[in-house]
Amino acid sequence: MWKSPRTGGLGLLAILLAAAPLTFPNAYFYDVGVNALFNAVLCVGLNLLIGYGGQISLGHAGFFALGAYGTAILTGRYALPPVAAMLVAAGGVGLLAFVVGRPILKLKGHYLAMATLGIGIIIHIVLKTESWLTGGPDGIGVDPFHLAGLAVAGDQAWYWLAAGLLLLAVWLSLNLVDSPVGRALRAVHGSEVGAEVVGVDTARSKVLVFVVSAVFASLVGSLFAHKNAFITPDIGSFFRSIELVTMVVLGGMASTFGAVIGAVILTLLPQFLAAFEDYEAMVLGAIMMGTMIFMPKGLLPSLRLLLSKRRAA
């Protein structure tokens, strides 16, 4: 029988998520934890595009920011309930990803990277300059989140919401990867022409995963906006996009749990490095370079390989 990480992995993740707060001495830890979980959800979506589909997006923070601003504007200016605003924003971002995805996903490698980089930068600039709508570089305030009449307030409530969302995202991702749609997607990564000749519409596959990963980013962006109560255009900056890609690559491409691990490590790392102050960025850079040189497949796949080798020996 083939092994499925679905049951065991998901259960373990649920236990870890439930147990983690036991180690949190104060509210600040919850705050960092929520950010780690938000990044994890985003990276699970981005990993579908990068790790499984073999495509790249250097503009994903743009979709995240659009989700955040979409919610901020729809709830603040048009008084939509948060959940409705979140869904409308996600629909809009999905549509945008579909429209731009069709032409740019014909590109490969560096060209695709450049095109997605361009999209991210355009979104960032629009958020910065259209101040009548977005508040410009000064940012915009966001109303609190409420779900079915219940207000989600306080870091603890956000932690449990984010943990639930991550479990859902991981479940969806594991399902997709082991389904006809997901196999077609991985086949596109393996050999585009090989996939085409057995009937896989490779163009459709690529656009589909681009849209799915953009919607993931938008949904997380909306929640992030509500939680922080205030957002600025820099949440959609180029550096943020790079950070997200680095999380996916560090954790392990084509590994859903790897993406989660990468996101958690890179969110927590600056907290531990705070003691080094000036050297923080340097240590971060060194870790990234080390990963690329010694574990190009990423943390989790490399560990798995090591274990299976040891077992075989």
Partner: protein
């Protein structure tokens, strides 16, 4: 009755005529070989028929439908599938998953069903896996079912591509040098597989350099040279043709 007909087909690459004014027909239920010296345009012809290249001029018909310039994935839906001279295996997947992708057209491809793992999809997926395992057994790869494609030997990968192509349930299967790089034993095994495929009612078109294999299994042979048709006929006719002998031995035609 013809399954596939090619009429006055030409393909130029910046002034070079890779295929020039080529016409021929393929009848259903036969094994049809295309041979010729290196650079004769065999693989280009395959790429034209399977939609990877767009012809410069001419027509390709499948069941009287003009298919020139259609995308490979559309042609797969019309019942055409192929393998490649240089492997196009999905090295990031297991053997059985490779074959399951071949089954793609015959599965529920809804995003929602896949995301939510709906029971109907799971049931069909399980049947798909069982069918893929059968196909791996059919091509003699039962010991590799759950092996990573990246860890399989070359000869096995050649057969894996055939199994994947068969999973698409083609009426017309094009094999580009299925025996290239194989030793005599492996070559004979591929030979058996091709015969079994043809016996199951699939029309096979073959590009191959192994003359022993070509002469042994073909019903009909088309000989290309410099992108043009040099000769056509049964193996006996082709073998007796002085122009073919000259093209292969390099003599004065």
């Amino acid at each position: 009755m013809t399954l596939l007909s090619v009429e006055a087909l030409s393909k130029e690459f910046g002034g070079v005529h890779a295929v020039e004014d080529l016409s021929f027909a393929i009848h259903p239920g036969t094994i049809h070989s295309i041979i010729g010296p290196n650079g004769a345009g065999k693989t280009t012809l395959f790429n034209l028929i399977t939609g990877i290249y767009t012809p410069t001029s001419g027509r390709i018909r499948l069941d009287d439908k003009d298919i020139a310039g259609r995308r490979p994935c559309e042609l797969a839906a019309l019942g055409m599938s192929r393998t490649f001279q240089n492997l196009q295996v999905f090295f990031n997947m297991t053997a059985v998953e490779n074959v399951m992708v071949g089954h793609h057209l015959h599965l529920d491809r809804g995003l929602l069903a896949s995301l939510l793992r709906l029971p109907a999809m799971v049931k069909r997926d399980r049947a798909c896996r069982a069918h893929a395992v059968e196909l791996l057994e059919f091509v003699g790869l039962s010991r590799y079912v759950n092996a990573d494609a990246a860890s399989m030997p070359y000869g096995a990968l050649k057969r894996l591509e055939i199994a994947r192509a068969l999973a698409a349930k083609p009426r017309l299967l094009l094999l580009d040098e299925p025996a290239a790089g194989l030793n005599a034993t492996e070559s004979r095994e591929i030979d058996e597989v091709i015969k079994k495929v043809a016996a199951s009612g699939v029309t096979v078109v073959l590009v191959e350099h192994d003359m022993k294999m070509v002469m042994g299994i073909s019903d009909h042979i088309l000989v290309l040279n410099y992108g043009r048709k040099l000769a056509e006929g049964t193996p006996a006719e082709v073998r007796a043709n002085p122009e073919v002998v000259a093209a292969y031995l390099g003599g004065q035609g």
